[in-house]
């Protein structure tokens, strides 16, 4: 069967573990936690006083004037996108050899420029309407990150911002895949970002009883599948992938990390914030991703789970992995959120990047803090760094979001060139 093959040729990230892909990947393999006590005064009265802040302030990387015109979520996205773009071997605007009308963007966010919104509301209350920034709207709108990356790269084939809470950036990867397979673009810059470490979102998530309150041990707070887990840890950061058709990548001799083989999207239609405990729709998302990728359940050697460290979500996902990949699946499963915290709309992209690098380097990052695993999970969780075998490898990254969104994305190491061991 002939279908358009799509490969990944560039990666960029700025995360709680590092300001780029190399430092982030090193941090993941080292089992490093990016979670810290929040030092700001506003945190002292909150029930949750920990978060995983970006290791490198994006405002220090961007030019001053550009940085002040961007919400933090867009600063992070632009930094990661520029790294990915250069990693793919492309230049900026004038030096950009890509046909701009064939270059698309899909960059997601779960919440968007909430901090800009809140800070301008503070100004309006204090000083009046005439002191609100004229940049407030272009900074706070959810599509600002995608639009700013389009501006920087000159991308004109369509610029999109899927919003599906914590599944958002896996959805943007899926959307980019669709654009390329439908012939709407040759190259797409896809991923997600989030930058909402602010008292209001922390108070709101805390009110939902969704967040860890392990304030005295920040590095041990995110502990997927451990019996003592008590919720997720809010993180900020961005991750971006440059994807292109295999034909386009080969024509320019690009270095290839692997194939973006397929995606599967479903919805629970069960509850706004609780996963369907049967895991049926989560499993179906993985199964759909397998079908679209022309892979069998037994082909999957690695899963980067959504596993946010919440009491119910982690258990439900273990069940849905077994439903989709088989009760005796040998896939090595990991939860990198144990180290990075939860990047919300950036999580899917960061974990897709990790999934792909795990296949590329044949090394699975660990799930840290798994001191006492929940009994009877029935999946093989990497509590330390694990090696993957030689040969053709395939992996899945799961992302699930409030609203019942389930998005699974499948990668393989097919067509990988250079650096693969």
């Amino acid at each position: 069967m002939s279908r358009i093959r799509v490969v990944v040729t560039g990666l960029g990230a700025t995360t709680p573990l590092g300001g780029d892909v190399a430092s982030t990947w090193d941090g993941l393999l080292a089992g490093k936690s990016g979670v810290r006590k929040i030092e700001a005064d506003w945190a002292t009265d909150l029930p949750v006083q920990i978060a995983a802040q970006a290791a490198v302030d994006p405002a220090e990387i961007l030019e001053r004037v550009e940085a002040r015109r961007l919400d933090r979520s867009a600063q992070l996205a632009v930094v990661a996108a520029l790294e990915a773009w250069q990693d793919a071997g492309y230049g900026l605007r004038e030096e950009n050899p890509v046909d701009r009308e064939r270059l698309g963007v899909a960059i997601a966010t779960g919440i968007g420029g909430m901090v800009t919104l809140l800070s301008n509301w503070d100004i309006q209350k204090e000083k009046g309407a005439r002191r609100v920034s004229p940049l407030a709207i272009p900074m706070l709108m959810a599509n600002a990150s995608a639009a700013n990356v389009s501006l920087r790269l000159g991308a004109r084939a369509g610029v999109h911002t899927p919003v599906s809470a914590c599944a958002s950036s896996n959805e943007s990867i899926s959307l980019g895949l669709d654009m390329l397979r439908l012939g709407r673009a040759d190259v797409a810059v896809v991923g997600g970002t989030e930058g909402v470490i602010h008292p209001l979102p922390i108070a709101s998530f805390a009110q939902m009883q969704a967040m860890s309150r392990r304030n005295d041990e920040p590095e041990r707070a995110s502990r997927p599948w451990d019996v003592d887990r008590d919720g997720f840890v809010l993180a900020e950061g961005a991750a971006i992938l440059v994807i292109e058709t295999l034909e386009h990548a080969r024509a320019r001799g690009a270095r290839i990390y692997g194939e973006l083989a397929g995606a599967g999207i479903t919805a629970d239609a069960h509850d706004m914030v609780q996963p369907d405990p049967t895991g049926a729709s989560q499993a179906l998302a993985m199964t759909k991703a397998l079908r679209e990728s022309e892979l069998a359940p037994g082909d999957i050697v690695h899963v980067n789970a959504h596993a946010t460290s919440t009491p119910q979500g982690d258990v439900t996902e273990a069940g849905s992995i077994r439903q989709s990949l088989g009760e005796h699946t040998e896939a090595i499963v990991t939860a990198t959120k144990s180290m990075t915290g939860h990047l919300l709309g950036g999580a899917g992209a960061l974990e897709s990047l990790s999934t792909l690098l795990a296949l590329y380097h044949r090394t699975v990052p660990p799930t840290i803090n798994l001191d006492n695993p929940e009994p009877d999970l029935g999946i093989d969780i990497a509590s330390k760094v694990r090696d993957l075998p030689s040969g053709d490898l395939a992996g899945i990254n799961n992302s699930f979001g409030f609203g019942g969104h389930n998005v699974a994305v499948a990668f393989t190491n097919a067509y990988a060139t250079g650096g693969s061991t």
Binding site: E63, R64, V65, R68, R130, R131, S133, P134, L135, P138
Partner: protein, 81 residues
């Protein structure tokens, strides 16, 4: 009363902060849009920052007539007088 040059220098600092234009380029004969490449949203920010800095009011209908740095400096001097 500050001198014209002092008003220009303070305004130049604001233009640099908001739009990144080198302060030395912000001279009286320069057009904000044509010479200094200040976009419309940045111009709004500059006006509001100038109001705070100089303690004057620059209504929107007046602001749109301030085409050059010299126009703005003259308006600020009149309003502050």
């Amino acid at each position: 009363m500050p001198t014209t040059e002092e008003v220009r220098a303070d305004l130049a600092e604001i233009v640099n902060e908001v739009a990144g234009v080198p302060a030395d380029d912000v001279q009286l004969d320069k057009s904000f849009t044509d010479d200094l490449d200040v976009d419309s949203l940045s111009m709004v920010e500059i006006i509001y920052a100038a109001e705070e800095k100089f303690g004057v009011s620059i209504p929107d209908e007046e602001a749109k007539n301030l085409k050059t740095v010299g126009d703005a400096v003259a308006y600020i001097e009149r309003a502050a007088a």
